[in-house]
Symmetry: C2
Subunit: 112 residues, 2 copies
């Protein structure tokens, strides 16, 4: 049991699900807000603002990296993260396409 069946769905739906998963924790959305607010990329400043331990923030950053939503470079003693706008816009567009698909597929009326 508990075998992974995710690969049995379309590439697009897997991609949408992966992006959604990256956004499925409020800490990660908050991190994106912090990254967007400051044009200069910070890192340790995120930890200060978050109600989470440094290790946990690092783990969330890693997930956002894995999904491609942020980029990072190690810059001396500090490391620098920022939003990957290309990936982000693609995500936004894929999502709006999904909404569009769903709405045009149906008559946009609920039957129950």
């Amino acid at each position: 049991m508990a075998v992974n069946k995710k690969t049995e769905f379309t590439e697009l739906d897997q991609k949408l699900a992966d992006m959604s998963k990256a956004m499925s924790h409020p800490a990660r959305i908050a991190i994106l807000r912090v990254l967007a607010e400051r044009n200069t990329c910070i890192c340790g400043e995120i930890v200060e603002v978050m109600p989470l331990a440094q290790a946990t923030v690092s783990q969330h950053l890693k997930e956002l990296m894995g999904a491609g939503l942020i980029k990072g470079t190690i810059d001396g003693k500090k490391s620098c993260y920022c939003i990957n706008w290309e990936a982000f816009k693609e995500f936004n567009s894929d999502f709006n396409t999904l909404f569009g698909d769903l709405q045009t597929a149906s008559s946009n009326q609920s039957c129950c």
Copy 2:
């Protein structure tokens, strides 16, 4: 350890995260597509189309219900599900607002 810290974030970010979580499995996105495709609400037909057991599909439907993205009524022997368009449009709009917030907060340029 592993205490739930999700409530320490803003209501909006929690809401966005919850909606994202509902969309974070390709099976659930596929279910939404099926529901949108057929104007008449089905249920067992979903199971036929999915590479998952009936119990698992039922579980995914419950999650979509919990997030408010779909509505359901028990209609005799069968039960009837359909997309909750009001909630869905709100989700779409909240998401686009987030994208907008992030983009206007920054100069929309990555520094790394």
